[in-house]
Amino acid sequence: MFSKVMVANRGEIAVRVLQTLQAMGIATAAVYSDPDANAPHVALADEAFALGGSTAEETYLDRAKIIELAVACGAEAVHPGYGFLAENPAFSRDCAEAGLVFIGPSPETIELLGDKIRSKEAAVQAGVPVVPSSPMWQPGESQPDDISTGIGFPLLVKAAAGGGGRGMRIVERVQDLEPALESASREAASAFGDGRVFLERYIPAARHVEFQVLADSAGNTIHLLERECSVQRRYQKVIEETPSPALNDDLRNRMAESAVAMAKSAGYANAGTVEFLVDAQTGEYYFLEMNARIQVEHPITEETLRLDMVELQTRIAAGEDLSLAQDDIQSSGHALECRIYAEDPYSNFAPDTGRLLAWRPPSGMGIRLDSGVVEGQEITAYYDSMLAKLVAWGPDRQSAIGRMLGALESFPVLGVATNIPFLLRALAHPDFRSGYYDTGFIAKYPELTAAPGPGDINGAAAEIAELFWQTNGNNTSGQVSATPRETQSPWRGLSKSTFP
């Protein structure tokens, strides 16, 4: 086993990986950007090194800087987390050349799976069903009309090097295609350094269900069951759960077989995830992509299977054979994850920034919080807006939902807007409670994201603010009106109300 590992990431995943490495008795090193100097992952690691700079490009995406620091501190391996360099084959190669083990699949596998066209071909070869799609497009190349032939509308524009919904657009009409291609290409170029995009048939009422797979270097490959990820905004997951309410045993078994076949076809070693679209109307499923990294939502698998994904990843990277057989994978109970984003759910989930004036993680039976922030921390626009992941486990689905609702209710966050009010509404919604929901869930129910009107502002909250203001001795006029901080964020507000 490694004696020292560098974690080349930030936020909750850096903390999560560091915790496991430390529990395994492995010395840890972290890296950080200037705005992250006081972040929890820096405090937690045995050693932490400044990358110098603020933007992702200057810091967590700077391959040379990270490898130089890893070698200098005597690390034997690098854990990339997710995002940043996790699926960058060049980084994986750089690590190997510098004598470092990259905790993830081989650069060849990352390259194959990172190319959505080639990965689809691999799926077809493995006998896994796929969604019809177009060749690649980039600005100045072929006419959009040429590539949309045979796909039909509505369709999806997707980035060749994609993930997390970046560079993705849904297009309903032919006249909207060209602007969507350009915008998606620009976003993809900025997020991934690759502006190639393509079109894919859009399947309405689809569910997004993925299977966790695990493979060792000897080729032993197993699946760790599914995660249902259909609650999405801007094509990014918000709530995930396992087991999926959409699968029966027959469909589950067929999809699991496809996932394992796909992993084998890609020559996969380490932890990976095979994503599928499930057509809720027909019960058919299609391969979407395979993610060559640890997923954001891995904790729900950990909770129902009682295992540690990061430990398994690390053992595989260190050359150990899988200690688990397929028959060892027995799920227990139900787990849900809610991603806590710094965003305003009432303004189209626009990201928010600011200082975390209050951050009091909830606790309780079956509750787990994977967090990358602390009270007092500045949330900047430099990085992703996800602050933490709240996970609830229960012996059954309804008890897991109940525990999650209780934890969200008792989770004070002040200073930045969060999606907690949205999460509470979504979990309480009859469609979610019944399990009959798909990726159109948020768009279908505007009440999930409707801003409360002035009359909906809780009177107790306004009274507290009023008393607080008065006792600070700053109330000169005797009139203090409560207004939203921004006109774009009506939820903050009491724009029409006045309190004495």
Partner: protein
């Protein structure tokens, strides 16, 4: 002022209509059901009685001129009165500042001065937290000013574009 909030928290007076002003009543601690259990400069926590009679925990934080309040499941920001809205030319709709909804970097500006725009048209694209945010025109008009250019770092609330109604300049 009678407020919707006051109607909500206190049972409405039988004779008090929604539009009828009411003298500003000072809030006495004992009457509001606010019980402060811990406080330090700019920070309170305690329990509050909700309109349905239950009590619930709360947190309050002061940040500059703003007061942030958390009660179970909800967070609010309260601010002192906003400055009076600027004077408008009589009989005319005022010019309209299109402000930046998120902090980030301007990656595209789709309009120029004197362009006529329609409601829903893309004006400016901001990249924030690695996501494109498209700022659309809230209504039709003519671009009077473009305050940013590609590559500018922008903050929430910063003016991006100033619109005036069509025909404004001829008046």
């Amino acid at each position: 002022m009678t407020t919707r909030r006051l109607q909500q928290t206190h049972p409405p007076e039988p004779e008090a209509g929604p539009a009828q002003p009411e003298p500003a009543a000072p809030v006495a601690n004992g009457e509001t059901g606010i019980d402060i259990t811990a406080s330090s400069p700019g920070r309170w926590e305690g329990r509050v009685r909700l309109s349905d009679g239950r009590t619930a925990p709360f947190l309050a934080r002061r940040d500059g001129q703003q007061i942030h309040v958390w009660i179970p499941g909800q967070s609010y920001v309260f601010s002192p009165p906003a400055p009076t809205t600027r004077a408008r030319r009589s009989g005319q709709q005022a010019s309209d500042d299109i402000v930046c909804p998120v902090p980030g970097v301007v990656i595209a500006v789709h309009v120029s001065v004197d362009d006529q725009v329609v409601a829903g048209q893309d004006l400016v694209i901001i990249e924030s937290m690695k996501t494109e945010q498209i700022v659309k025109s809230p209504r039709g008009g003519v671009v009077e000013r473009v305050a940013v250019q590609k590559g500018d770092r922008v903050d929430r609330g910063m003016r991006l574009v100033v619109l005036v109604p069509v025909g404004w300049e001829e008046v």
